[in-house]
Symmetry: C2
Subunit: 295 residues, 2 copies
């Protein structure tokens, strides 16, 4: 494992809301602390799981401040700073760098479709140049199921060649293990994370960095155990149990289902709220999964 990059099990933090639908910083910080105790090696606030694109600029800035003020080590933080807007992305990225965060997770600009690799390259280049800080570390966030626009393997190579000290990793949420494997193979030393723990063992065996996965919000311990013991004989068995749990959870809409699990775990029903356009999951729809997990 290199010490220059993040690796291990990273949780894209769920974002809790209060009765009025506003982000609830206290619940957020407590959840972050719990996940580090549970075994996460780092935390990625403001990802897809965190409903980041549903948050306002000021809300994102305030919540990141709250994490740092709440005692989370910036070296364990990988905030999502992506935005369709170059100006807003630069502002969020600069804040993360000023806090000393380990890096930022960067969505491509996702409004326009049919965008060329050259257009995405220029967007990332502008972010890097405008932030203009050698402490910046960028992890590309490849998630075509939501963003549609993505980082091709060729584009990853171009960005890495242009900014070798800055563009240091990628989260692959394509759902296509072949793509993850191709990135790992093409770029030794690059921190390539799987976007689901279903390929965690495969990722580590291939030389990847680990996983940044939604379910680390509720299953950090076993994921960390596999990460620490992936070369052991029991690794395949551990992976099988992890995969089974993941498949159970993702049988329901992921984000509201995870919030049900956290609400159950913390005894705090305030966790159930999601922000539009997402919808809450009715208690009866979550119940079968909750019962199976308890068993």
């Amino acid at each position: 494992m290199t010490t220059e990059h993040l690796n291990g099990v990273v949780a894209p933090l769920l974002t809790p809301f209060d009765d009025a639908g506003q982000p609830h910083a206290e619940r957020f910080v407590a959840h972050a602390q719990r996940l580090l105790t549970d075994g996460c090696t780092a935390l990625a606030p403001f990802g897809t799981t965190g409903e980041a694109t549903s948050l306002g600029m000021q809300e994102r800035r305030s919540l990141l401040d709250a994490l740092v003020d709440g005692g989370i080590a910036p070296a364990q933080l990988l905030p999502g700073t992506g935005s369709c807007s170059l100006a807003d992305c630069v502002q969020l990225t600069r804040q993360a760098v000023e806090h000393g965060c380990a890096g930022v997770l960067l969505l491509p600009p996702f409004y326009y479709k049919g965008i060329s690799d050259e257009g995405i390259f220029r967007f990332v280049a502008e972010v890097v140049e405008q932030v203009g800080d050698e402490r910046l570390r960028v992890y590309l966030y490849h998630i075509p199921p939501q963003a549609v626009i993505g980082y091709s393997v060729e584009l990853v190579g171009r960005l890495r060649d242009a900014y070798p000290q800055t563009v240091v990793g990628l989260k692959d949420s394509s759902g296509d293990w072949q793509n993850t494997a191709a990135v790992i193979q093409a770029f030794p030393g690059f921190a390539t994370f799987s976007g689901s723990e279903i390929s965690l063992l495969a990722n580590l065996r291939a030389g990847g960095a680990g996983c940044i996965t939604a379910t680390a919000n509720v299953n950090a311990g076993p994921l960390r155990e596999l990460f620490d013991n992936w070369q052991n004989d029991a690794a395949d068995e551990m992976q099988a149990a992890i995969t089974a749990r993941r498949e159970l959870i993702q049988s329901k809409p992921m984000i509201p289902m995870l919030k049900h699990i956290v609400a159950r775990h913390t005894g705090d029903p305030g966790w159930l709220r999601v922000r539009p356009p997402l919808l809450e999951l009715a208690a009866e729809d979550a119940q079968t999964v909750l019962t199976s997990l308890a068993a």
Copy 2:
């Protein structure tokens, strides 16, 4: 024509940038004034053509202030205030209402895919409730080629039923005339705009409100003439000429091509700049269209 809604020929304003890639307010206001002189009945800053999603929150707010300060009547302004973020969308919408704008053009929250009509309904409902101002007029912005997420005819009906004084119109950039016709037929009195002037005459004959079209940035006069004379015998001929010009322009990437035309028209090459992820169009690629338009 009703006086309660906007109608006619609305230009989604192009956004000019300076040498440093920052929005250029002076060029923007001058362009807006020119288009009203040329015949536009209203202006829609911050649409897809205006690279709105590539602009920052503060940039959008400042540019709207500049238009109003520059003497553009708010009653002729229909700013795009859409954002994936509920908080940012509310903030931009509130600013538009406070300026006395005729309405706002509202993208659905476009990050998450596979979102239900109920989720989009709640997003729009939250915007309306949180802005909480009876002056607010919402025009739904249906553009599935970019946003992927869209407003189904059924959802339009639900929103109109829930907020009859507020949700008053729609821009249909689906590229599917059958969809536009279905909305016009389903909701008499609703201001339904075509997203392209190719269907302007059909729109008006069916009872629609007109068009909000990118090419109104460079062809406002003939569009307005058709709008004013659509019941004349010469209307089909006028439409044919308009359609031919549109097809010529859209043979190239639309936004950079339009900027070439404005640069040529104003003699100001500063107009050529676009913001990433869009790319400029090389002069030689624009030349054939410029030559044909001049002929």
